[in-house]
């Protein structure tokens, strides 16, 4: 379970998160939507611990991990898998080494078992036989999927997806949506998914949250969000330039 309480984060004088509160029960898929630059990626980085909040709590299974750092925080990170918005593959390593990276550190598996898991994870994202390629030999969408394979390889309990379907063709994107749903069903994974795509949001979300001006301004099932009376939410999900949001 993830509990976010009154989370604040600024960069210099720029306030990005300004009191975010959100509860995500175990096994739930939470989709976060919001404008570009509203702090969605920052929220995920705070959750996993690569950034530290200025103020507020992040509760993982009841423990506040916000004040932890270094070694102690790294122990909690074991529970997480993260797909970065730009994949963030290690460019000096092959695809197989990238996917095996977490397996080597988080599990005691031998080399053969690791190779098997690497192939499994790549197959799950629809990639086969590319183990020996280097990241610069991959297309943008392939990189993203390798990043996803790397995040799910060691069986994390919580997976953070930063725009999993951006830059991927519609068929593959839908396959990834199905993978997200499958991981939730089979492994009871808790997920936070950032997406700009309302169709895939509807498909994967148990609940959705909209981030606006550093706060969660709407929270509910995809149905409730679609039928929200809030003009800001309406403008955003229908993608209209006209409306209360002016600063785009």
């Amino acid at each position: 379970m993830i509990g976010i309480v009154d989370l604040h984060k600024s960069f210099g004088s720029k306030k990005v998160l300004n009191g975010v509160n959100l509860e995500i029960p175990k096994g739930e898929t939470m989709v976060v939507i919001g404008q570009s630059g509203s702090g969605k990626s920052v929220l995920l980085k705070l959750l996993i611990g690569v950034m530290t909040p200025d103020r507020g709590e992040i509760r993982i299974d009841g423990m506040n991990v916000a004040p932890l750092c270094g070694e102690e925080r790294l122990r909690v990170t074991r529970k997480f898998g993260m797909l970065f918005q730009a994949a963030a593959l290690f460019d000096s390593m092959t695809v197989a080494q990238n996917v095996a990276f977490g397996l080597k550190r988080y599990t005691d598996l031998g080399p053969d078992e690791i190779a098997g898991r690497v192939a499994d994870s790549l197959a799950k994202v629809g990639l086969r036989g590319i183990e020996r390629l280097m990241p610069h030999e991959l297309s943008g969408g392939m990189k993203k999927r390798v990043g996803l394979a790397r995040a799910i390889a060691y069986g994390p309990e919580i997976i953070l997806y930063d725009e999993p379907s951006t830059g991927i063709d519609p068929i593959r994107a839908d396959a990834i949506n199905e993978l997200i749903v499958l991981l939730k069903k089979e492994m009871n994974v808790t997920s936070v998914v950032i997406t700009h795509d309302m169709v895939s949001a509807t498909k994967v979300a148990d609940r959705m949250a909209m981030l606006y001006e550093g706060r969660i301004i709407a929270l509910g099932t995809p149905e409730e969000i679609k039928n929200s009376a809030d003009p800001i939410v309406q403008q955003f999900i229908h993608g209209r330039a006209e409306g209360p949001i002016k600063n785009w």
Binding site: I48, V50, E71, L74, F84, A88, L89
Partner: protein, 258 residues
């Protein structure tokens, strides 16, 4: 050094000193904690050693030659014909204690410190450093510790190697080119050059190794703002490390027993 948004140049300087110090302390602590990143460490040893050996050989050779040349001129002019063979110990002393450690330090700063900043800086701006953390590898342990440990060990080796080349070249200039009495030259050198002279140069080199690696990694880790930012970090790593080497060198010379 960049000016702080709301501070003076001096405040910025001390803040940055603090950052380096914190990084160094963290690295030092992690050095004694298992597990070590052995693979990265060996890779860095090779990187630092193999990458700089040609450059170090060349600088040491010409350092030895030119130092031999001026010492010859000095003895010839001020002490007199036939005294040049006494230049041997002076050349060796100057080379092992000062010239070679500094030349090696500056060369490695240019060659290796810059590539550390560029590599880690690129990893930072492409979020690979963050990815390391999410996959269970502490960036300090994975990146900074192996580099610092490797530089700490490799710089004395390179310096010792440079000492030998420099001394040989100094002797080559005097004995072979200028016709100084080789036996006297060699006897004087062996008689007056002390073990400690060489060791104190190696101690300096080890300190320079730490300076180069920590400053290179520090600049890399705080790189931001795309390719331009990485470029800036790279240049800064070299400039700052080189200046630090020259300053620290003076103080070590001053305070290490003669």
């Amino acid at each position: 050094m960049s000016r702080d948004r709301n501070g003076s140049l001096l405040a910025g300087f001390f803040r940055q000193m603090g950052e380096v110090w914190i990084l160094f302390a963290e690295t030092f602590r992690n050095l004694f904690r298992k597990p070590w990143e052995r693979k990265n460490f060996l890779q860095q040893l090779e990187e630092i050693g193999a990458r700089t050996l040609p450059v170090v050989s060349l600088t040491a050779a010409f350092g030895g030659l030119v130092f031999g040349l001026q010492t010859y001129v000095g003895f010839h002019r001020y002490v007199g014909q036939g005294s040049e063979a006494y230049g041997g110990p002076i050349i060796s002393l100057g080379l092992t204690k000062e010239l070679i450690p500094i030349l090696v330090g500056l060369m490695v700063a240019g060659r290796v410190g810059s590539s550390m900043a560029a590599e880690i800086g690129t990893m930072r701006i492409t979020e690979q450093v963050d990815a390391l953390f999410t996959l269970g590898a502490d960036p300090n342990r994975y990146l900074v510790v192996p580099r610092t440990a490797a530089a700490f060990l490799m710089l004395p080796c390179l310096t010792l190697f440079g000492d030998i080349i420099g001394i040989i070249c100094g002797m080559f200039y005097n004995v072979t080119i200028m016709g100084v009495n080789g036996k006297v030259y060699l006897r004087n050198t062996l008689l007056y050059l002390q073990f400690w002279d060489v060791v104190s140069g190696l101690i300096k080199a080890a300190v320079f190794g730490i300076i180069i690696a920590v400053i290179g990694c520090w600049q890399g880790l705080k790189a931001e703002g795309g390719a331009e930012g990485v470029g800036r970090a790279t240049t800064r790593a070299v400039v700052i490390a080189s200046i630090c080497i020259l300053i620290v060198n003076f103080f070590i010379s001053k305070f290490l027993p003669g």
